[in-house]
Structures are given as structure tokens and as C-alpha cells.
Symmetry: C2
């Protein structure tokens, strides 16, 4: 009864478009890619797996995205949209800068793969969110009255990038171990102290670190490092503000 020569692909095989499927779109692809990156890190993202998550073949994605690198670029820009900066008329410049830095940091820690990408690609992207981020940052620091706002921005940003990538890399390592941060530290500490044997000053420093690590929440320790360093930078910048 088969009217056509084609063996299987009949009318029945070709089911009509199911309505729940929002189809493949650049936004959906980027969104899902970010979800995968957040969940399992930068190595876990492959075009095939991403396609599978979207009920699509791997190569279908290439209709909407030129290359995997471009996809990463889009993901980075998307994430930059999450950073929120204080308005440019903030009265207290230190508080405002601290809030901005904190927002950058927490965004990076929410998406630790950012650190890997920034290490290879940098901030040379020109996506809309990154541009708007830069604009608001420029407006903010200009409103503070810095004579060379872009230098002040660069300095703060450099510090914040440095601490964010360090922390993100650390948290990635911890995550790969499958343990909690505290447990991982407890397991690492003996090895570190052994490696520090023969290094007098370092050994003492590690011993002190081990003591406080045992008594304090690791996240709290990281916070305090962040705020200490940021205060140093802000103190240095304060000297460059008029009056």
C-alpha cells in the first residue's frame, strides 16, 4: 500500500511541529550554553551536548552562531549584563565603587568559567552589554571628579579582575574535587605544609593560615581579602582626588 518508494520517511514519521518547542534561536542557544557552563564548567560545554539539550543536532546550532568562539563571546557579553552599577550621582564614591566591585566579583563567582575565558580572550569584545557596562563605569567615575577617570577605572578593574579570576579558579578547583570548600582546604593543608617545609617564613605563614582556616568560614576569609585589597586601592585613589 505504500504509495512512494521511500522506505520509512512517511507522513507518519514526519510529525508536525510540536508547539511547546520554542524553536532554535540565538538567545535560547546562548541561555542554554550559560546554564551548561555554570553547571559543569568550560570543559563540559560541547556543541553536541548543547544541541542535545535543545533537542537539536549539533550542527543545527551553526545556523545561529558562526563558531563556538563566537558563542562564548555572546555568553560573556550576556553575563556582563548581570553586573549592576550604582547610578552616576552617588554621593559616597567609596561606597559606590565598593558596590560596583562587589557586583563584578559576585557575577564572576556565579559564572566561574568567565575567568578562563577572560584569560584567553580578554575584554576586547564589543558586545552591547560590555559597552553599556563601560559607559556606566565611565560616567560613574567621571562624576566622582577624578582628573583621569579612565586610569582610576583601569586600576580598580585590574584589581577586581585579579581577585575574581583567582577566586573563580580556586572555586573551580574545589568544585572539581567534589568536596565542600572547607573539606578541600582541610585535605590540602597538610600537603601544603609539607611542601613548605624548608621554607621558614612561608611555613609560619601557612601555620597561621591553617589556624584561622580551621576556625572561620572560607567564604568569609575570601571576603575579607577582597575588602582589604579594595580598601588599599581606594586609599591610593583617594590621594588622586581633588581637595
Amino acid at each position: 500500500m505504500a504509495s512512494k518508494a521511500h522506505p520509512i520517511p512517511s507522513v507518519w514519521a514526519r510529525r508536525q511541529r510540536e508547539p511547546e518547542q520554542p524553536a532554535l534561536s540565538r538567545e535560547a542557544i546562548v541561555r542554554e550554553a550559560i546554564a551548561m557552563l555554570d553547571a559543569d564548567g568550560v570543559d563540559a560545554l560541547s556543541m553536541r551536548k548543547l544541541g542535545a539539550r535543545l533537542n537539536a543536532g549539533a550542527t543545527s546550532l551553526y545556523r545561529h552562531v558562526a563558531t563556538k568562539d563566537e558563542l562564548m563571546e555572546l555568553a560573556v557579553d550576556e553575563v556582563f549584563g548581570e553586573i549592576d552599577l550604582p547610578a552616576a550621582d552617588s554621593a559616597d564614591w567609596r561606597a559606590a565603587t565598593t558596590r560596583a566591585a562587589q557586583s563584578f566579583r559576585t557575577t564572576t563567582l556565579n559564572h566561574p568559567w568567565l575567568a578562563s575565558v577572560l584569560g584567553t580572550a580578554g575584554l576586547a569584545y564589543l558586545g552591547p552589554n560590555l559597552m553599556s557596562f563601560s559607559e556606566r563605569l565611565a560616567a560613574l567615575f567621571t562624576s566622582f571628579g577624578f582628573p583621569e577617570p579612565s586610569r582610576a577605572i583601569d586600576t580598580v578593574l585590574t584589581f577586581v579582575i585579579g581577585i575574581s579570576t583567582s577566586e573563580a579558579a580556586w572555586l573551580t578547583t574545589v568544585a572539581r574535587s567534589g568536596e565542600t570548600e572547607a573539606a578541600f582546604i582541610a585535605r590540602l593543608m597538610p600537603a601544603a605544609q609539607e611542601a613548605a617545609a624548608g621554607h621558614a617564613v612561608l611555613a609560619e605563614s601557612y601555620a597561621a593560615a591553617a589556624a584561622t582556616a580551621a576556625a572561620t568560614d572560607p567564604a568569609e576569609i575570601r571576603d575579607s581579602k577582597f575588602f582589604y585589597g579594595l580598601e588599599v586601592v581606594l586609599d591610593g585613589l583617594a590621594l588622586r582626588l581633588p581637595h
Copy 2:
């Protein structure tokens, strides 16, 4: 005349060990891996290509190195050995810190792939060179009389890591383009200015940057950013030194 049944592998095929070949060793592997990383970046290093460069098969390397990640770990530690730090009895703490920071920076810029690796793996390694680096850094800052030397170290290191990874990533992007830095900037600038359209403050900032970029050596601009930021950090730290 063939006395054995084996077809080809005769005494003649099995040539005796050639003397020039230094054999495969962990040191040689790491050295060659670093050379490849320096030359062509982190994506260009594959076990097969590395093996080929050593006149060896890919899997032979695994006799000396457990995994590619471990190889990278060894490479990172090796490179940390290149950073040289001032002696702990330096009189001028600002000059000494600046020299140390500079050394870290130039080492990173000589091995830009470091930025990618630090972004994924961080400084959690415990290699001998890294330990010795930490030790000398700790001794240095302790000798300056900082009440909390490790916090001062972290702050400086954070800034230096931030600027080094940013610069390294940038230079990697430039290198991939195959152009000189100046040419790449000249080509990028119009796109950046177009992307900044609609962002008033940013557009102005870009215009100023474009003007100086056209008149100044890019490396000099990067240097000045580095020194400006470092001075800010040092000023901030100075407030925390006794007297």
C-alpha cells in the same frame, strides 16, 4: 638467507641507540612543551605534536607525565622559576616591590598562555618553584615591616595578576590576528568607536584614547597603565606601614 621467520624486523632494522638523542625525560618534555606554548599558544599544544617534536610517539610521553594537565602544572611551575625577586634586605620597599611586580609581569608576557592556565587552575599548585617564589615574597614583605605581610602580598599579587592576565589575553588576541599591535589597534578602533555610538561618556573616552594611541607606542601605553595602578596600590599600602 633470512634465518628468522619474522618478515622485516631484522637486525638491520633495529638500529642501535643513536647518541645525539638525549632520550625522553620529564625535563625535556616540559622544556619542549613550554617552547610550543610560547610559540603558538595553549591551543597549539597537543600530545601528538609535542611527541613529534621530540622524535617520539604521543603515548610515549605518558611514561614521564601522568596526564596533560599534570604537564601543564609542571610547565607553570617551571615558568615561575623565571620570576626573580629582590633580596629581603632591600632598603627601598617601593622600589623592591616594583621590581618584583615588573618581573612577574614580564614573565607572564613572555609566556602569555600562563593567563589561560591561571584562569582555570589558579595558584593552588604546590610545585617547588612556586613554593620558593612564595617564600621569597613572604620574606621580602616581612622585612619591610608590614604588620600583616600576607595581606600586603595578596593585594599586590592580585593587582599584578589582574594586569598580567589582561595584558596577556590582549597580546594573545593581537598575535592571533597576525598583525602588529599598532596595526591591530588601528583596525579595531573604528569598530570600537562605532560600538560606542550612543554612549556619550565612553565615546569621548575612546576618542581621546584613539588620539594618544595614534601617537604613542602601544607597549608604552601599557607600561604607563601598569605603573599608574601599581603606584596607587603602593600608596594605599604605605598608609599601613608603621611610622
